[in-house]
């Protein structure tokens, strides 16, 4: 190493060089494999570029982006993605918080339950889609058959009807990810200062008052962080949609990722798909910024820093 790099004499310089060399491989790797393709994607997005007709490639400026916001099908995909994200994350937060409160007391029973509760979040998302596709079929499905016999939902099954399919996908996502939400919120609950909660009990506050005035404000940072993480993932939903409905019927469950993958890797419409990918990225960055700002403000209000 001495031969390659002149060894600095001062210890602080040597340490700085050491830390730099430790971080460099990962930074270079992410830049080469992540940022480089991303920037190429931005480049492609200004072209009409189809792999099947490479000869007809031409520069179209912002036309792909204009198309995204004017095309009926794409607009549906954007709205669907937002509807999916807002409702699935919202429901997960409610269910997850309830479960976390129920599991708060530390006992062997609760620890064991938590371990099994996490199964839906660990299995392959593709398999989750397959399971519900089979269960919800109106003709043979364990759930779908009885729903349809009871006259609930459309005759063809909940996943094949445009009015219900997206809501079913939202519920499937809740089934899959509520356990993880529970886990994150439970970790936040367990980190709460015990003496403060004790004081609430002594003051004779009711359970609801304790929750509303003590637990909820203290939990705000955890809640927003959990929301941020889950929102990012929900916005990129692909696996379960792909296998259950494939975006159908009639684009009723098309999401941005679904659209991008279909355009890019099935129709080889690289230019348009890149634009869709970039718009998705932009939306995610926007949501993340807003959520992080909210977290910081909540933090300032509660902890005064």
């Amino acid at each position: 190493m001495n031969a390659v790099l002149p060894m600095p004499h001062r210890f602080s310089d040597r340490r700085r060089l050491f830390l730099f060399l430790m971080a460099a491989p990962a930074v270079v790797y992410v830049a080469a494999i992540g940022l480089w393709p991303l920037s190429q994607g931005i480049w492609y997005s200004f072209y009409r570029y189809n792999l099947l007709r490479p000869a007809r490639t031409r520069f179209v400026g912002l036309q792909n982006y204009v198309d995204i916001f004017t095309d009926e099908a794409t607009r549906t995909a954007i709205l669907n993605t937002f509807q999916f994200t807002i409702f699935s994350v919202g429901l997960q937060l409610i269910f997850g918080f309830c479960l976390a409160l129920l599991l708060w007391r530390d006992s062997r029973f609760n620890r064991a339950v938590l371990a099994f509760l996490l199964v839906p979040s660990t299995i392959t998302p593709l398999v989750v889609g397959l399971i519900f596709k089979a269960l919800l079929g109106a003709d043979y499905g364990m759930i779908g058959y009885f729903l349809s016999e009871a006259g609930i939902g459309p005759r063809t099954g909940l996943l094949t009807d445009a009015s219900t399919a997206l809501w079913v996908l939202i519920l499937i996502d809740c089934w899959e990810w509520t356990p993880l939400m529970t886990l994150i919120l439970l970790a936040g609950l367990k980190a709460l200062p015990a003496d403060l909660l004790e004081a609430g009990t002594v003051d004779g506050a009711t359970a609801w008052q304790r929750f509303r005035l003590l637990v909820l404000p203290l939990m705000l940072p955890s809640i927003f962080l959990a929301l941020t993480l889950r929102t990012m993932d929900a916005f990129r939903v692909f696996d379960s949609v792909f296998v259950t409905t494939g975006g159908g019927p009639n684009d009723a469950t098309n999401t941005l990722m679904m659209l991008g993958v279909k355009e890019g890797l099935q129709f080889f419409n690289v230019g348009y798909a890149s634009a869709v990918g970039n718009v998705t990225l932009l939306f995610i960055a926007l949501i993340a910024t807003v959520l992080l700002l909210v977290v910081r403000r909540a933090d300032v209000r509660i902890n005064g820093r």
Binding site: V30, V113, W175
Partner: protein, 273 residues
């Protein structure tokens, strides 16, 4: 919390148990289909009882080269995990110990990388792999997934090392230990559980991933997740066979998550705070 009545605990536990069952039953159903004869999986009306059989497994093993599929999944997820840890742990350490002001900003940059929608980078990456002839190999998937996962590991390890006071390393350095020695022999052992948690998350991510290998691998290199999709799209493959095949894809990861639950919980906690 000590004066909670027995009846209330019982009520709470009942609710929790019912909820857990709701979360487990669909998985149990899929597992069960693998032991049902084909004509008893979907009946009108659906019923709960069946005569157990291993036919579906025989069918799955006859139609699919399960060994090669599982091997692909293993190679891809182990390769990704190993590379991600090798790249991510040192950089997480460096960012946590650096006194430079931009270090924390850099850590957030790595977190942001983990959040990019795959499609934005996957298409150019696909074309790149095609041009250099790596398309269809395990390497293509490993290289791409390592990019996402090493960023995540960097972020996780950054927060683990941040919460580890540097006093011990300082003491070792004063005693004549080298900088690398202080990292390898003092800092690393103290964050062992963090590294295990990272490894667990990388394994789960790559094992469960199917979008990337679906486009980056071919028939001979595809992992079990992609095979499941192909199987699902094939007309003459029954749900029972699919259930049997799903065993190989879900059971390993569920067992891993159950046995290493402590690290799973710890990792999820640490990723947040």
């Amino acid at each position: 919390m000590s004066r909670v009545s027995r009846r209330r605990i019982l009520a709470e536990r009942t609710v929790v148990l019912v909820a857990t069952l709701l979360f487990l039953l669909p998985v149990c159903w899929l597992i069960a289909t693998a032991y049902k004869p084909s004509n008893q999986i979907f009946t009108v009306p659906p019923r709960l009882t069946f005569e157990p059989t291993l036919d579906q497994f025989r069918q799955a093993l006859a139609l699919f080269d399960v060994v090669s599929l599982v091997r692909s999944s293993l190679v891809i997820s182990l390769g990704t995990t190993l590379l991600s840890l090798l790249l991510g742990v040192p950089s997480g350490y460096a960012l946590a110990r650096s006194k430079a002001r931009f270090a924390t900003g850099f850590a957030y940059f790595f977190l942001a990388i983990r959040m990019i929608p795959a499609i934005a980078a996957l298409i150019p990456f696909y074309l790149l792999m095609r041009d250099i002839g790596l398309l269809g190999s395990w390497w293509a998937v490993i290289v791409f997934n390592t990019m996402l996962n090493c960023a995540f590991v960097t972020w996780m390890m950054f927060s683990y090392f941040k919460s580890l006071p540097p006093d011990m390393e300082e003491a070792a350095l004063t005693d004549g230990c080298t900088l690398i020695g202080a990292f390898l022999r003092v800092a690393l052992p103290s964050v062992r559980s963090g590294i295990i948690a990272c490894a667990l998350f990388c394994m789960m991510f790559s094992w469960n991933d199917f979008l990337h290998p679906m486009f980056l691998t071919t028939l001979d290199s595809k992992p079990i997740s992609v095979a499941l999709l192909t199987a699902y799209g094939t007309k003459d493959i029954t749900w029972g066979t699919l259930g049997a095949l799903a065993h190989f894809s879900t059971i390993p990861i569920v067992l891993m998550a159950l046995f290493m639950n402590r690290y799973f919980v710890q990792g999820a906690t640490n990723g947040v705070q």
